[in-house]
Amino acid sequence: MSIKLKTVDLKKRMQQALQGGGEKAIEKQVAMGKMTARERIVSLLDPNSFHEYDLFVEHAAKDFDMDKKFLPGDGVITGTGTISGFPVCIYAQDFTVAGGSLGLMHARKITKIMDHALKLKVPIIGINDSGGARIQEGVNSLAGYGEIFYRNTQASGVIPQISVILGPCAGGAVYSPALTDFVFVVDKISKMFITGPEVIKSVLGEEISMEDLGGAKVHSEISGNAHFFSESENECFQQIKKLFTYIPWNNSKKADPFPKKSPNLKLYDIEKIIPTDPRQPYDVRNIIKAVSDDSEFFEIQENFAANIVIGFGRINGQTVGFVANQPLVLAGVLDVDSSDKAARFIRFCDSFNIPLVTFVDLPGYLPGIDQEHSGVIRHGAKVLYSYSEATVPKTTVILRKAYGGGYIAMCSRHLRADFVFAWPTAEIAVMGPEGAANIIFRHAIANSDNPEETRKRKISEYRKKFANPYVAAAHGYIDAVIEPSETRKFVIHALEISSQKSERGPKKKHGIPPF
């Protein structure tokens, strides 16, 4: 056979494999408002950058007449490409082929591209759209999942791992996304759960729709499993592209710098954002925008545990991870969910050489029976652990309240912040003035002729004496009391000064964070 004929033969084979599950299955996929797996990859990656591998992989199942079935690519597409010039490994499950079900060879394709990613030190993106384990392949399917989870864990903290949920992702399949760094979901398309509505109904007699059980909104608001929510697949891909501008390829690199830009001070006048009454809330994201380049802030988990705000921005062109208490929601307290959310983000930034900038304004940990019973002690400890463990440059700015355990937890000097600044409005104290005065002057108040007036006077005395940054400054716990308008200047300088920071804790296999 001539080269020409062989090439014709190759093209024929390719065409057969590229058709996926065939016209009917593709029609069904489109009718559900979804793109096909190949369309998704092409939309996400730079034009013409996608190179597909393992197109001719065939499934290995013999039982249940599976040997008579041809499954193009075994239901998953794998390859490499670039996003804004940034190299990535990628796989996308193809729901049109046997429901994207995961069998042995399907899993091998995924683990092969994951191995590539880890070896080549580039990020891995997984697009999940699968009915789950391929039941006909039995324990081989389970083995496949296990191999993926193992690699997710090995790659964790070495290369960024991104999961995109664009269809069902149920049972064991959910644990690969759960092990990755960022999970993207799309409204009405993404569904994630361990056991679906039908099983729940048959076992438990409880009825719930798929959407209410594990839809995109649930995971971005209630469970916190998802990091980014969008209305459409295209919007989702834009979010992924944006994320890649902020993070490095791997843990031995820093994120690429961008041209320096000033914040939009007309829109975000830092002097005017915080109300003078410490009881009044404000949106702390405006403080971040008043400090970050071009007033840009790329928020993560916007709707989950909104009492803490996390996300990326740039300062003088360099990526930083912002962590800030949000007085607008639940007074900005730390609780089970917000601790989890912040701690994981801090560890991501630390793994990938992204400096941390923390803005503090919180009354402490959230009181409540449900909080205590759901383990606010061990969850709250995660914040202490991750800040203490982090060796990237750490800069803290105390805006208003920093009371009690909350003061310690929010990257205080004691957890080895490199720089701690406080605004003149800061109140660094063991607790709020009213609570503290009520305890310290309990007897004086009870024994006085006019308890109410004494209480008020004592509160006011306490406030004057302790509700300020100067007591902490007198002990050197904060480095400088700064004017709000100087914040960016001080943060820029702190980042410049600590740019060569290299710190190693004691040698150990790994710590034991309070998971």
Binding site: P327, V329, D370
Partner: protein, 117 residues
């Protein structure tokens, strides 16, 4: 204690509330998850509850029976296991709230006891 001083209507996605933390008060929004949190109920030793959702397979006792601590009272089939449930303390069966074959949600009160003190 954090308390909600306004009438709260769980289901609204966010609500403006006044938060009281250790004597200091803050105006802020409560998110949906906070508003939907379940109120605490103290444990009641005179109630035998379904520890997980399941189907009542067998009932060993009737109303009025006297039971010892550790007596078998019923079998709850849940997660493919036939779980035998025992009386937590000695007493009389005050009420049997379920029938054989009945499917029950978690924490459903299966049997009420009148404890012998």
């Amino acid at each position: 204690m954090a308390k909600n001083e306004e009438n709260n209507n769980p289901g609204n996605s966010a609500q403006y509330i006044t938060f009281n933390i250790e004597g200091d008060r803050y105006d802020t929004f409560a998110n949906r998850k906070f508003l939907l949190r379940k109120p605490y109920k103290p444990a009641a030793p005179d109630q035998i509850k379904a520890f997980m959702p399941g189907v009542v397979q067998k009932i060993y006792v009737n109303k009025g029976d006297k039971v010892k601590e550790g007596s078998k009272v019923l079998v709850l089939e849940a997660m493919k296991m036939k779980n035998i449930m025992f009386a937590p303390a000695a007493g009389y069966i005050k009420n049997v709230n379920v029938k054989k074959g009945q499917m029950v949600p978690k924490n459903h009160v299966l049997i009420e006891l009148e404890l012998i003190s």
